[in-house]
């Protein structure tokens, strides 16, 4: 933890903050563009850990500072980064990569480093202004009871932890309790290489990365790689339909080594996303299906998450929004019969947003969470202030 470093980041964020649009800074032959975002959200204590997306990380109760920078060297090469501090913790680079465009008039880009996710849609619009509400979709946030570094000894042990993915303790592999994995992590980005080509109505991207959707990694800890891809079409202006797929090794060596014989485990996922907008309305829908190998269990573990969200502007600077969201789990056979391996959870969030200025947004929302097991239900009223440039 380094609060002074976070405060330095805050100072850097505020320095050019009077700008309403980023103005490039010339540094010799380089061109630097800065952007920043500061947001603070508040809500009552999440006793059921419905919104936790990591250890003590809850988007309803989060103060976030983010500084982004792009350094361009001519028309073909740029370096991009995002340094972020959450709750004044030590600032970290969440994005740091090189972008190369070999041909200036062809929309073909190669990105290498700590790169944005190819899979799905929400992972690339996690910034406050792109999220009409305060909470995050369950598929990108909800912590399941599956871990990458520790495994249950039996189906019954996994079922015992249903609905308590925020802190799970298994006997095989790492012994310390730790949070489980989400279907797709939106908190961190993966390290690797990515290629994207875009035409007028069609876009395709593919990436080779260190981690997996559930567990993006900067450093590889299982000598496996993930391949992910997404294709998207724009049949008409305002409509985007995307399909994604990914497969990669997710089990950490720490857990593999504890297994006898050592077994690798993969995460495989499919995704579908749709966005349509016209006039004052914006509708998005996204579905994610994920399957993980479970080395100590008879069956693979399956999960699906889907959400539909809509935003409608009622007045200049004022909108209403809502999201319906669900995450479900496949059945496994325990000694008491078959049951979903984690507790299915459903969420509804409705809210409003009001722009005091073009880059100063206030949000308020009401959220209901229902879970089939464990801490079953909790409602929240949350507020957020968001400022960006």
């Amino acid at each position: 933890m380094s609060r002074p470093r976070a405060l330095v980041l805050l100072s850097l964020l505020l320095a050019p903050g009077s700008l309403e649009a980023a103005e490039p800074i010339r540094l010799g032959g380089l061109r630097l563009v800065l952007g920043g975002e500061m947001s603070g959200s508040a809500a009552e204590t999440d006793r059921g850990f419905f919104n936790d997306s990591g250890y003590e990380r809850n988007p309803l109760r989060l103060f976030r500072l983010s500084l982004t920078a792009e350094v361009r060297a001519g028309d073909h090469v740029a370096a991009l980064t995002e340094v972020r501090s959450e709750n004044l913790n030590t600032p970290r680079a969440y994005a740091l990569y090189l972008r190369v465009r070999p041909w200036a008039d062809e929309e073909l880009d190669i990105q290498a480093g700590l790169i944005p996710p190819v899979f799905g849609s929400y992972g690339r619009r996690r910034y406050g202004a792109d999220n009409p509400l305060i909470g995050e979709p369950l598929a990108y946030q909800y912590l399941t009871t599956l871990r990458a570094d520790a495994f249950p000894a039996s189906e019954d042990e996994l079922l015992y932890w249903r609905g308590r993915g925020w802190l799970v303790d298994y006997p095989i592999g790492a012994t310390a309790p730790a949070p489980g994995l989400p279907l797709v992590s939106s908190v961190e980005w993966d390290a690797g290489v990515q290629v994207r080509w875009a035409g007028e109505r069609f876009e395709a991207a593919a990436a080779l990365t260190q981690g997996t959707l559930s567990r993006p990694r900067v450093e590889d800890d299982n000598e496996g790689k993930q391949f992910s891809t997404r294709v998207a079409v724009r049949p008409l202006v305002g409509l985007v339909v995307g399909a994604s797929a990914a497969t990669g090794d997710y089990v950490a060596d720490q857990a593999v080594d504890a297994l006898a014989p050592p077994v690798e485990g993969r995460q495989r996922a499919l995704g579908l996303d749709v966005e349509y907008s016209a006039g004052y309305a914006l509708v998005r829908a996204e579905a994610v299906w994920s399957r993980w190998d479970a080395p100590t269990l008879r069956d693979d573990l399956e999960a699906d998450g889907y959400m539909v969200e809509a935003r409608y502007k009622l007045l200049p600077g004022f909108y209403v929004a809502a999201r319906f969201d669900h995450v479900g789990f496949g059945d496994i056979a325990g000694s008491q019969g078959r049951a979903a391996w984690d507790a299915p959870t459903t969420r509804f969030e409705g809210g409003i947003g009001f722009s005091l200025r073009r880059n100063l947004l206030l949000k308020a929302s009401w959220q209901r969470n229902e879970r089939a097991d464990g801490f079953r239900r909790q409602d929240f009223v949350a507020g957020q202030v968001l400022w960006w440039y």
């Binding site: 103005e23 991009l80 929309e107 202006v237 305002g238 907008s277 004052y280 200049p316």
Partner: protein, 220 residues
């Protein structure tokens, strides 16, 4: 910016300085030289994008608006409704600054292949045109004098100014910085040169009967 802030001061001004109806009209003309390097907004760093975004067209931010701070009586004689256009082209508003009289309807055509969403939260005119595609246009009537900052809700680097005047004594500079305000009754006036969001320089000038006055500005 008296003219832009309201008609009350204007009415008072015209009572004080109303010229003779028989006086020949003069003009104020000259050049506005923008000495400083104009700002150039760029898209925010596209960290979350899978590739480089399209580069928007550079806007001509050297264009200035020159206007009389307090208008003479003739300011209110011409009240024909007018129409103007602010295009959205290659992710830029064209022109960057548009000066119109109160009561003017401004069209916002979309010439791009992508959606745009023009809006403003300015006190003088708060509006949101929603998302619409290429070939379509929506309009806004500007009735209240003031400075209206216009943005696109989808492309954060897109911005423009609409300056709404209660009178007709204003001019936008041409690419060489030249301007000309015609039909000015004899009198003493305060002339303002406005550039890129600010009043940059204010000068006083006396216009004689039928006189063409040269008045240059150098704004920083």
């Amino acid at each position: 910016m008296v003219v832009l802030r309201g008609a009350g001061a204007l009415l008072l001004a015209l009572l004080v300085s109303a010229p003779s109806a028989r006086a020949a009209l003069g003009s104020i003309r000259g050049r506005v030289q923008v000495v400083r390097e104009p700002s150039a907004a760029a898209p925010r760093p596209s960290v979350a994008a899978l590739g480089a975004p399209r580069a928007p067209d550079a806007q001509d931010r050297r264009r200035s608006v020159v206007y009389l701070e307090v208008a003479p009586q003739r300011a209110f004689e011409d009240d024909n409704p007018a129409r103007a256009s602010l295009d959205q082209r290659n992710e830029s508003f064209v022109p960057y600054v548009l000066a119109v009289r109160a009561g003017t309807t401004v069209d916002f055509p979309n010439s791009d292949r992508t959606y745009h969403n023009v809006f403003s939260l300015s006190k003088a005119k708060r509006f949101d045109l929603g998302r619409y595609g290429r070939g379509r246009s929506k309009s806004v009537r500007f009735d209240q004098p003031g400075v209206v900052r216009v943005f696109c809700d989808i492309h954060s680097h897109m911005s423009a100014f609409v300056l709404v005047f209660a009178h007709r004594y204003f001019a936008t500079t041409d690419p060489e910085g030249r301007y000309r305000i015609d039909g000015v009754p004899p009198g003493t006036y305060t002339v303002v040169a406005w550039n890129d969001g600010q009043e940059r320089e204010t000068r006083s000038v006396r216009v004689g009967d039928g006189e063409a006055v040269e008045l240059d500005f150098s704004v920083r």
